[in-house]
Amino acid sequence: MPRCMRHGAGLAPMIVATLAVTGCAGWGGGPGGGGGANSINVLMVNNPQMIDLQKLTATNFTKDTGISVNFTVLPENDVRDKISQEFSSQAGQYDVASLSNFEVPIYARSGWVAPLDSHVAADPSFDQADILKPMTTSLSGQDGKLYGEPFYGESSFLMYRKDVLANAGITMPATPTWPQVADIAAKVDGTRPGMHGICLRGQPGWGQVIAPMTTVVNTFGGTWFTKDWQAQVNGEGFRKATDFYVGLVRAHGESGAPQAGFTECLNDLEQGNVAMWYDATSAAGSLEAADSPVKGKIGYVAAPVVQTPHSGWLYTWAWAIQQASTKKDNAWKFISWASSKQYENLVGSQVGWSRVPAGKRASTYSNPEYLKQASAFAQPTLHAISSADPLNPGVQPRPALGIQFVDIPEFPDLGTQVSQEISSAIAGRTSVDDALNRGQKLADDVAAFYRSGKASG
């Protein structure tokens, strides 16, 4: 016993010695972040428009309202995971989150986001009627209530190097068809050292290669699912479209196509590595920015078509309020400011008119200041967004909303798995037929679930 006591007594100086070696235990202070009653927490994706917002918030919104805003900014995939975890558990850590028009109707069905109608009604200066109709439609729930306000919106169009096409004696039609685009890509491919014909996304991911490819599928007459939930991934229209898309990328597409996403293609067009690019209308802001090497050299035309009159997608990053938030009024004040006309003017005057989070309000496209700076792409963008029809994007009726996606919770997983097959086909590791046959099995599992009536939505 005395021996044990001696051992125990011996440990105390050792602990003290350890403290001395490692630094005193009282060091560290409190948590570094902010908080408080008159503050809100916002979780958002790291896109350039959001970063501008983050920079302008303290000196404008907080200064005017006294509400401080704490941001968490994460990459797109991470933010989706975090929002899904946060909202499904209704943890209440965040008052506002950036959600896309893919999530908003699904989250609304689950009761995770708060309806905004009463806030909108009490805030006439927000001018809901000015928000473009397809945006409002895509951010409403099945119950007809509004659950999100767009921050910026986009469709897709074709961007091309005017100088390169002019040198080759080619005139781009206002509404080109995909065979015409393939023809032009072949003609301009290699006309300058290292320049390829076109950049099309090949990177796996339901938000990467699947987005542009699904618009091609729509206009070629294909669909993921029929109205009565029959999978059509290896159906005729889907197969023709995929054959065309993969063939075009492999023949005249960018280097490293299986890894190329939005960022890589943006870089390729800016660096003169490609002559054309079919992608989001929001890319135009970067292409026409003051420091862009291709400013003024890019032409913009409608998304190429085959069987449909239009084929551009519809996408928006929008704000939604978590149902569990205890600061909904302050949260609305933030949304009302961030999605307002005044905020667009603020960005225009302080950051630049080409950086305005456009694509959501009709008034943006009649703003002379905006049109002066964004004249090259303003009208093509407005036309693309206004023509988008998320209810009826193809040649046949659809079972769920969505142009470049199917608005069901299973789609990210399904789309990503199919995208890996298609990316493999672009890399030449598998054939389009094999890729689509494997995709069909995956899609059929999802379709069977909906046919069985087990899905509540």
Binding site: R6, G10, T18, V21, T22, G29, P75, Q93, E270
Partner: protein, 297 residues
């Protein structure tokens, strides 16, 4: 070669066969040296590349083929430190420092007595105890993520840096006990006996005999625990929000799917790596001693 021969002492009893053997040994040394340099360069090149990229503009950083001699700029660092009204990295750096230092201190406070009881004065069935400590690392971390998240949510501990420090303590404790045990086991029994014969009590033995021997071990263990806590991302990303966000989570925020970010991310990564590098350099001597002690063991 002649210089080497001049400097190297020639043994008087050298045989005729001795000379070529020595040459072979020298050639072997040169080859080993070259291999060591090559491996060292392989480790350093990505860091140097990151350093260079961090001083480039975004378009230059993203160019393909890479522009090594592009003009240098501090824009990436300005953006990281919140130039033009952007977010400040200091709260997240402070949070990381709090969690890493606090958990490291607590880990050492618990691990050293535990290791003492497992080596110098081993408790009964000490091997079972060691295995128990190790077995706590066998559960994949991700398997505990959801229960811990739900526990934190119901306990109001989400977005709380002290909770994160507690988690890091529990994650690093088994490793620290194992490391400290191997360092304490290196203390020769003879010097403990000699100290006892000379009339030194336990306190004096620990302070004047054991502590100097295991100090490199404490340094190595501290650094390992600090690095693990500083770099941890999985728990930090899931459990923190706006108040307790740590540096690795803040760092991932620079990655965007729209626009260029490579220079900024490189600048941010370098700044976030600096505390670990500084701690490593500061404790370099002790670390080499400590880690090689463990390696010999």
């Amino acid at each position: 070669m002649s210089a080497v021969t001049d400097v190297a002492p020639v043994p008087a009893t050298r045989t005729r066969e001795g000379a070529p053997r020595r040459h072979r040994r020298q050639r072997g040394g040169v080859v080993l040296g070259l291999v060591a340099w090559l491996i060292g360069l392989l480790f350093v090149v990505p860091v140097v590349w990151m350093l260079l990229t961090s001083f480039h503009s975004e378009p230059d950083a993203a160019s393909n083929p890479p522009k090594v001699f592009a003009p240098l700029t501090l824009q990436g660092y300005r953006e990281f430190f919140g130039a033009g009204g952007g977010a400040s990295p200091w709260p997240s750096l402070l949070n990381s420092l709090t969690a890493a230092v606090l958990s490291t201190v607590v880990v050492l406070l618990l691990a050293i007595p535990a290791a003492y009881a497992l080596s110098i004065r081993p408790v009964r069935k000490w091997t079972d105890v060691m295995f128990f400590f190790l077995s706590t690392k066998m559960l994949p971390v991700v398997a505990g993520l959801l229960p811990i998240y739900l526990f934190a949510q119901y306990s109001g501990l989400l977005d709380n840096i002290w909770f994160l420090a507690l988690l890091y303590t529990s994650m690093n404790l088994p490793i620290a006990v194992w490391m400290m045990r191997s360092f304490l086991a290196e203390v020769p029994v003879e010097i403990l006996e000699a100290a006892s014969v000379d009339g030194a009590g336990l306190v004096r033995t620990l302070r004047q005999v054991v502590a100097p021997v295991i100090l490199p071990g404490i340094a190595a263990t501290s650094l390992i625990c600090f690095i693990f806590s500083w770099n941890e991302l999985l728990f930090a990303r899931v459990l923190t929000g706006t108040r307790a966000e740590t540096a690795p989570v803040y760092l991932t925020g620079f990655v965007t799917s729209q626009g260029l970010f490579l220079a900024q991310v490189c600048a941010a990564s370098l700044v976030v790596s600096l505390p670990v590098l500084i701690a490593g350099f500061a404790a370099q001597d002790k670390l080499v001693q400590g880690l090689s002690l463990g390696a010999v063991k």
